[in-house]
């Protein structure tokens, strides 16, 4: 039996990954995805009997932070096991092949698993007359995306760049970068946003597709509701301080040392959807607020360009400048004076009429 036709169970047997290891992975993943224990067991059985899912990972205008997040997780052996359970047929950083051989592997996988392979994309894409700003093997990112997406089952955009444009698309967007969903309109797209996204979220989403062969339930921005259904604020352990009105006024002041709410130093937790506050980072250890810095809102579109920047509280936006308001006052004075002059001349003329 060729290696490509063996199912996951056989692959694991060949690689010496015990069923117990696999069951542990499914149990932990199932817990993260809030599956019932019965569903987690079903996940294990279904995945083991299936052939390994072919995944083509396209990296465009990105910083590789998303790959770092998924491979550099604190439990690298458990979450990065996902790379054993999928057949990662193309990935710039992780693949052994290079050059023509790598591109050939990609094309072969696309042909062999037509209609069934999953495309993972990180990084944003410059388009149109700017497409040449990012190329691989002489092919523009835009062309590679269109070609690779043509026969795929689904696209998973990993990171805010691929999901919404991210940092390349931030003002002034010199390369004209756009999100995957701005280019591909006819394939299901799952946006796993975040800068970077949480490793559990990336792995959990891929696991969902592997297990159920279907797209998970998505919100209006295409993000899996299992991980992006709640705001940071809704699960934040500092919420009692917010409710009471106890805020840190600046970094490392007395309130900050007492662990008070970070609203005043610009925390965007209330309007940011992600799983940071409950699943947590660095091996379920902490997340930005717990470490003393407000949420940046990195899983939301345009977070780099948000009004007022990272440190303006939500109640303060971009209200302009004192100069503009002074100008408004001058304009108001001018109009008011003009109205008064008109009124006065009317007053005078009507008085003259009466007395004459």
């Amino acid at each position: 039996m060729s290696q490509r036709e063996e199912n996951l169970g056989q692959y694991m047997a060949r690689r010496g990954i015990s069923r117990r290891t696999f069951l542990k992975f499914c149990t932990v993943m199932g817990s993260t995805m809030a599956l019932s224990p019965a569903q987690a067991a079903e996940m294990a059985e279904t995945m083991a009997k299936a052939t390994r899912q072919s995944v083509i990972w396209l990296s465009f205008q990105e910083c590789t932070g998303c790959t770092e997040s998924i491979t550099r997780s604190h439990n690298p052996t458990l979450e990065s096991l996902i790379f054993d359970f999928i057949s990662l047929d193309y990935h710039h950083t992780l693949q052994a092949a290079a050059g023509d051989a790598a591109e050939h592997a990609r094309e072969e996988a696309m042909k062999k698993h037509k209609g069934k392979y999953v495309v993972v994309v990180d990084g944003s894409i410059p388009v149109g007359e700017n497409a040449h700003y990012s190329t691989i093997a002489g092919i523009t990112n835009e062309q590679m995306l269109r070609d690779t997406a043509r026969d795929c089952f689904a696209i998973v955009t990993v990171g805010t760049c691929a999901a919404f444009g991210g940092i390349p698309a931030a003002r002034p967007n010199p390369t004209g970068a756009v999100a995957v969903s701005d280019i591909i309109k006819d394939k299901p797209i799952i946006n796993v946003s975040g800068c970077p996204p949480m490793p559990q979220v990336m792995t959990g989403t891929l696991s969902h597709i592997l297990t159920f062969g279907a797209i998970p339930e998505l919100d209006h921005l295409g993000r899996p509701i299992a991980f992006f259904g709640e705001t940071i604020h809704d699960r934040c352990y500092r919420r009692p301080f917010y409710e009471k009105g106890q805020f840190a006024k600046s970094f490392d002041d007395e309130g900050a040392r007492k662990g008070w709410c970070l609203y005043e130093v610009g925390c965007k937790g209330p309007t940011t959807y992600n799983a940071c506050a409950n699943l947590k980072w660095n091996g379920a250890d902490t997340f930005p607020v717990q470490s003393g810095h407000g949420c940046l809102g990195c899983s939301e579109p345009n977070f780099w360009d948000q009004a007022g920047g990272f440190y303006a509280p939500l109640s303060v936006g971009d209200w302009g400048s004192h100069e503009v308001l002074a100008g408004a006052a001058v304009a108001g004075a001018a109009v008011g004076a003009a109205a008064a002059v008109a009124a006065r001349s009317r007053q005078k003329s009507s008085k003259e009429e009466k007395t004459s």
């Binding site: 705001t231 604020h233 917010y242 409710e243 009471k244 009105g245 805020f247 609203y263 005043e264 209330p270 309007t271 579109p301 345009n302 948000q306 009004a307 007022g308 303006a312 509280p313 939500l314 109640s315 303060v316 936006g317 971009d318 209200w319 302009g320 503009v324 308001l325 408004a328 006052a329 001058v330 304009a331 108001g332 004075a333 109009v335 008011g336 004076a337 109205a339 008064a340 002059v341 009124a343 006065r344 007053q347 005078k348």
Partner: protein, 221 residues
């Protein structure tokens, strides 16, 4: 651009421009109008002293008529004070003022602000009903009265709904509620200079002028 980005960006900028321009515009208009010459002068006291005194005394109804206006007098103070507590002593609001003025002030515990806001809203609703039902009030009330009530009450309602994330159960998203609250405040800013709502700025000057003028006629106002 999302609704929240719009509310915290262009809408905030333009509503403040209109607010500032409108306030200055109205002041300029009022101050530059001619005033009637007075033909009688008594040996009475100084106009300045009388004017300043009237600013204070007009804060209470005249004793002869107090019993007739007692209800609106006390409820009026109640909801004005409640509104000041809500607007000026809730920390996220203080941060907004601080960003414009350059200075802030201490806030009150959120529970106090919530209580004040709830009382204010209840009184405002009661007063609206009274305005619509009372035979005299409903006859003399016009668009400006109802509009002023609306642009004042809407931020209160939307603020409470946003704070409590009311509607989460049927899918209302917090960022939308927050955007609606900020936009309702911006609506207030835009309407503020152009009708009866301008009174927080104008009453001090009006009271002064009336006090001074009446003093010149030998009458205490």
């Amino acid at each position: 651009m999302t609704l929240l980005e719009f509310a915290r960006g262009p809408a905030m900028e333009w509503s403040l421009i209109i607010l500032v321009a409108g306030v200055v515009l109205r002041f300029a208009g009022i101050f530059l109008l001619t005033r009637h010459k007075t033909y009688f002068r008594t040996k009475g006291g100084s106009t300045l002293a009388a004017g300043l005194r009237t600013i204070g005394t007009r804060s209470a109804p005249t004793p002869d008529l107090e019993h007739r206006v007692r209800f609106s007098h006390y409820t009026g103070y109640l909801w004005h004070i409640g509104l000041f507590i809500t607007v000026l002593f809730y920390t996220p609001h203080i941060l907004f003022f601080e960003s414009i003025l350059g200075f802030g002030w201490p806030g009150l515990p959120t529970s106090v602000v919530l209580a004040a806001a709830a009382v204010t809203l209840a009184v405002l609703i009661a007063l609206l009903i009274r305005r619509m039902v009372h035979p005299v009030l409903k006859t003399i009330s016009g668009f400006d009265d109802y509009a002023s009530w609306f642009v004042t009450t809407l931020p209160l309602v939307t603020g409470l709904v946003a704070f409590g994330h009311i509607g989460a159960g049927f899918g209302w998203r917090y960022e939308t509620l927050l955007a609606v609250h900020i936009l309702s405040v911006e609506l207030l800013f835009v309407y503020f200079p152009f009708g009866k709502l301008f009174h927080p700025f104008s009453i001090w000057f009006t009271r002064y002028m009336i006090g001074g003028q009446m003093e010149q006629r030998g009458v205490r106002a």
